[in-house]
Symmetry: C2
DNA sequence: ACAAGTATGAACAGAAATGAACTGAATGTC
DNA sequence: GACATTCAGTTCATTTCTGTTCATACTTGT
């Protein structure tokens, strides 16, 4: 029994029973619980099942569900703080753009309950969060769904974003250095991000404190061109000073 | 009973009864009231139900989700049979269009495992089903997410569909009458359906036996214009005869 | 055959879930 | 409007689960 067939069998067992415990799977497959956990983690990252404490279940993907992504989310507290600050900035906006990062997903969650708002987003989880909000229209620009993460990319997305306009855009960054350069990691789609930035009157970069002060692979913009950075209060104050001396607006969101 | 399935069960119980008390849930689930409270809070934060004093009621979002799941689960066997026949017709197609009906969602499920395929769909659940298939590219035409059902509509969707082409399209119908007229119920988006039909080389209407022999509110097409109808073996043979005498191709899919 | 990389399992430390007890808030009753 | 009752939410202890780390076995490519 190799890894691949074992994982296939786990998928089958979970699919047929709807739910399996780690221990149960370990006994049935004749491997240790540790191995089962690693398998479940891998399958969960692929979105093939939903990890639970003690086991795994089948997601209700008959509906448009991306809730399982929330659990993968790191630094939830910081992102929620940033999101609260972000929606405050957008309090009178009637159109908001959100990219496909996990930080902007937190923004989407904070937008719930708003009315008279159109949200343009490439993020399918954000769309799922907002689809049933009575006061919010969700507009997807279309495009290919990236296999690595549930958001839209490609020339169709770019072309459509050129035709759309929003009052404010929130873009997630994988890294921000002390010169105000904003980075993303491939295979992230910097082209789509740039189209979003070009189509919004005000552009804020959202990045929690773990993203600050280091570069990443692909530079896609400069904070001096945009409205500023929103980060959380666990960040380094010296870093914030440096950016502010460059004339960059920095908003430090407090925790609850 | 782990957390995930317990919360799923709570959702079901609240959905079926409209309202549940904390104490009632605690007894039925065999957990403490404290655990129920924590579950309810989590579900409430996700917008899945509305917390009340002493219990919880159904929120708007949950209402939509369960209404959609009901539709998905209706005549599941027939829809699966139709879907199997559909993917056989599309066995050498490299591009497939799927609309947002529950029958075409079954087609999406049957497409899993295929490779070298691009699926163009307005259905967000279908997209969710296929997003992790390594051999399948999922292309969304964009547009507004309808509030009543999770699919895309609006002029953006229509414009983009005009630019796209597929070898074969499967469109769900709410009704097919004995003259070959194909109907949809408002607020279904017949404009998007027509754009899909116009952009595909072969167009099949998929409709289980409960949809046959009756009209619905909005006529959006005629089977004689298209490649034919796929239905299931529980249909009325006389009805099939009538359509065939009009020169319409009818495929009757057998159950497993 | 050898070496590099991968998979596996054991042990342990940290995290999460749960329930009990307690305090504070909301609702209903008189 | 005051009181009683019920409910909610915090805190803490207990249990269970998770994931890191490390050592070993296995697989794969050269």
């Amino acid at each position: 029994m190799n890894q691949e067939s074992r994982r296939a069998l786990i998928r089958k067992l979970v699919a047929s029973r709807g739910e399996c415990s780690v221990e149960q799977l370990a006994v049935e497959l004749g491997v240790s619980g540790m191995t089962v956990r690693r398998d479940l983690q891998a399958l969960c990252e692929d979105g093939r099942l939903i990890r639970t404490h003690g086991g795994a279940t089948l997601g209700e993907r008959a509906t448009f569900e991306f809730a399982f992504l929330d659990r993968v989310n790191k630094n939830q507290e910081a992102k929620t703080a940033i999101a609260r600050a972000a929606v405050r900035l957008a309090s009178d906006a009637r159109s908001v753009m959100l990219d496909g990062s996990t930080t902007t997903l937190a923004v989407a969650r904070q937008l719930r309950g708003r009315s008279g708002l159109t949200v343009i987003t490439t993020s399918l989880p954000a769309a799922a969060q907002l689809q049933h909000e009575p006061g919010i229209d969700v507009l997807l620009p279309g495009g290919y769904i990236r296999s690595a993460s549930p958001d839209l990319t490609g020339s169709l997305a770019e072309t459509n974003l050129e035709l759309l306009r929003a009052e404010i855009a929130f873009l997630g960054a994988d890294a921000v250095d002390d010169r105000g350069n904003v980075f993303t990691n491939p295979p992230d789609n910097s082209a789509v991000l740039l189209k979003m930035a070009a189509s919004a009157q005000r552009v804020y970069v959202v990045a929690d404190h773990t993203k600050l002060g280091k570069p990443a692979l692909r530079r896609f913009g400069q904070l001096t061109q945009w409205a500023g950075l929103i980060t959380d209060e666990a960040c380094d104050p010296d870093f914030v000073d440096q950016l502010q001396q460059l004339g960059i607006g920095v908003i430090v969101a407090p925790f609850e």
